[in-house]
Symmetry: C2
Subunit: 455 residues, 2 copies
């Protein structure tokens, strides 16, 4: 293989091929709590679609597995490498080729960090809505590959809803272009959305036409409400999405409140069963806030704080944003990611609580409540990770099964990756799985693209 | 084949199989202006997914082509039958199985007429946003198969954006279920959106979980603006989508204004080059209307009329709604359907005008201007259809090519059907077409599902 790698090096411009175990350590895995990553053969730091194409053609000919990679911030092991794989990193494809204010689109390469798109669009009064929590560090390519969600999705939709067209390299190196820059179009199959969320198993996305939106004029108007029961919080969430269009609607359970309070002293009520954070934007933000606050009070909120000051709002949202680091301060977090129909949030939170207690582990749950998307987070004791890990995964599996029994999904936004393959099969069903395999075989007959991931 | 049909009849409950040339006449084609439909072998009026499954298993075994069919209101020949095809009609699958106000979803069978969904949802304060002009006669199954657009799409998105999950029968009769009833979910490939817009070539959609939305509180607030030039109207449209979120933004060109005025006497200005109709809904409708009207005046509107009275609004929108019948009053309309980036609407309208003049035919253009989606409509003289038809198609082809050269699409919302196959190939490109063929072969290896359509 050494000799053949020389052939790949020749097919690429100087400096694009990374070899050697020490250098490759940074390309082995993503940020999932658990990993079974092996040792890659080499990595290609692509700068052009031609680089990606050359790498895939080389790998295809030799049946070498290929793992596409953005910033490696995934939480499901989607970028974990099997032994002997060729990693194709898009992290150096960072050009924002175009911001078009008239058509409200951005044309960006896959390695552009999510937050950079909105920063570039800001001068035209536009923004890119999808904002996974990783938005300052994750790339658009990774966001597209996983159909990333985020806080604003409750109003503005997920990544899928903000993409108009793609450029992607197929398994054998051919370059596919899908969609375009019109907001409507029904020519042919929706290959754009077939690739979005396919976790690198059908092609390697190299650039995208993204849809931008005008920045909301007015707001944000923000509230934080503490609830004495999960049922009351769940009722508030359900009520809010019926009377308003929140631009953010998050929930923290009692354990999360206490962890954040331990970590950051925010004067949260440690006895509250749930903290709900909501925000409205746009010219009608104040009225929407009033409507949301009224729903919270009707649902039995013990306290509601509201503000139209952006700095105060950021302080309030800090409770949510600091959750992960509060978990890390306590132990090793393993983040799960289920979604249920919105009407069943309270019930799902109760079930997570039950499963957590039965497991004997520390479980802290936050979530994008307005979307029914919850992140139960197991926090393993640093001195007992090896002992607690299997119990955490058994508990996570039970949580996934409960979500499925409620008509939910085993992954709301993080993706299946390497970690949830067994569970997703139950969700997809026998025929669903057969169709997945048929589509995969049609686009990647040699099975080289991110094997062992997604389904 | 007669004997084998008897076998199919036995596999179905009584009365579901339609045979005989006279009875089958109603199943031969859709409403496209031109048709090359043949004579079907038989039609199945399915009432259950089991009926569809039995029909497809039968056809698959015998390699009989299958044409799925809703209400037959399509405009691209997507439901035209080749000789000897089995038509599978979903028109009798009309159950609205569920309206769930808490989860804001409707579970409906494919034969439910679009407007019925919103009517059923209304008692819960909800509605189903996608509203093709055919919404009172077209079915959800057909809307899904073509990813139908409509007037409200400029604010609420197309059919694709309002579907959470599907039940569909595959070519060999297997039943596939995709998606679910959560608003978020990234488990596996987006088979839901692969089927949406696939025009019956990958499977037969039998039911769907649709996303409902709360009915806007407030509005509609409506305006009609007449413009002395297409450029001014185009500038107004571009400006409006930057400062407001119209719930409808339509345009009629000078010929359309005159045809409507001939037909219905609405006191429109026959000298105006364009009429733009816009509407805002929601609690902020009045402010949004004011912003839209200001943009129109700044762009040089010769007159602007506004109203917050729903009845007056319907009168104003009548100019748009009566367009098709005004065309029919004049001759035989052939409706084209291109979309361009929104910044190029004025330019596209000029090009349509040029092509129309060079063709010597009557061309009247209306469109969902806020989406860049235009419907140039050729109106053939009743006594010269045979002579004018080829010229109309040549002109339509040129219009499609111009749209492509502007980064547009040959079909914004009507679908490719039988009529636009040659043109869509140019849009999809060589690799795109290869991928389409691979996906088709993976899901329908015998090629029985709606052959000769979509790409």
């Amino acid at each position: 293989m050494e000799r053949e790698l020389a052939g790949l090096a020749e097919a690429l411009p100087d400096g694009r091929l990374v070899t050697g175990a020490a250098s490759l350590e940074a390309y082995r895995r993503d940020r999932a709590g658990l990993s079974t990553a092996g040792v890659p053969l080499a990595a290609v730091r692509a700068r052009t679609v031609a680089d990606v194409s050359a790498a895939l053609a080389w790998a295809h000919e030799r049946r070498v597995p290929v793992v596409p990679r953005g910033a490696g911030t995934g939480l499901s092991g989607g970028a974990d490498t099997p032994d002997g794989a060729l990693v194709v990193s898009l992290a150096d494809m960072t050009a924002i080729r175009e911001i078009d204010p008239a058509d409200q689109v951005a044309v960006v390469e896959a390695g552009v960090v999510n937050a950079e798109v909105s920063r570039a669009a800001a001068e035209f009064g536009l923004f890119y809505p999808p904002d996974p929590s990783s938005f300052e560090i994750s790339t658009i390519g990774g966001n597209l590959a996983t159909n990333a969600g985020g806080l604003r999705c409750v109003k503005y939709g997920v990544t899928r809803d903000s993409v108009l067209g793609l450029e992607a390299v197929l398994a054998d190196g051919r370059v596919l272009r899908t969609g375009g820059r019109t907001v409507k179009g029904v020519a042919g199959y929706d290959l754009t959305r077939l690739l979005v969320g396919s976790e690198g198993t059908l092609g390697v996305i190299t650039s995208a036409v993204l849809r931008l939106r005008p920045r909301p004029r007015g707001g944000p108007a923000t509230f934080a409400a503490e609830f004495p029961t999960l049922e009351a919080a769940g009722a508030a969430v359900s009520g809010i999405v019926r009377v308003a269009r929140p631009s953010l609607l998050e929930l923290l359970d009692n354990m999360s409140i206490n962890l954040v309070e331990d970590h950051a002293r925010m004067d949260l009520d440690r006895a509250a069963e749930a903290l709900v954070l909501g925000q409205a934007d746009g010219p009608n933000a104040a009225e929407e806030l009033a409507a949301m606050v009224a729903v919270c009070r009707d649902a039995g909120a013990a306290s509601v704080v509201e503000t139209d000051d952006p700095a105060d709002a950021e302080l309030m949202l800090g409770a949510r944003r600091k959750h992960y680091e509060a978990c890390e301060a306590r132990g090793v977090p393993l983040v799960d990611d289920v979604a249920v129909p919105r009407s069943r949030i309270a019930e799902m939170l109760r079930e997570i609580d039950r499963v957590g207690r039965e497991s004997g582990l520390l479980v802290s749950t936050v979530g994008h409540a307005g979307d029914g998307n919850l992140h139960p987070t197991f926090i393993l004791r640093r001195d007992a990770v090896a002992e607690e890990e299997p119990r955490a995964w058994a508990a996570a599996e039970e949580i996934c099964r409960v979500a499925l029994s409620m008509g939910g999904t085993v992954t709301g936004e993080h993706g299946v990756g390497a970690l949830k393959r067994e569970w997703v099969r139950e969700e997809l069903g026998g025929v669903g799985l057969e169709v997945h395999r048929a589509v995969k075989a049609a686009l990647d007959p040699r099975g080289i693209l991110n094997p062992g991931k997604a389904f």
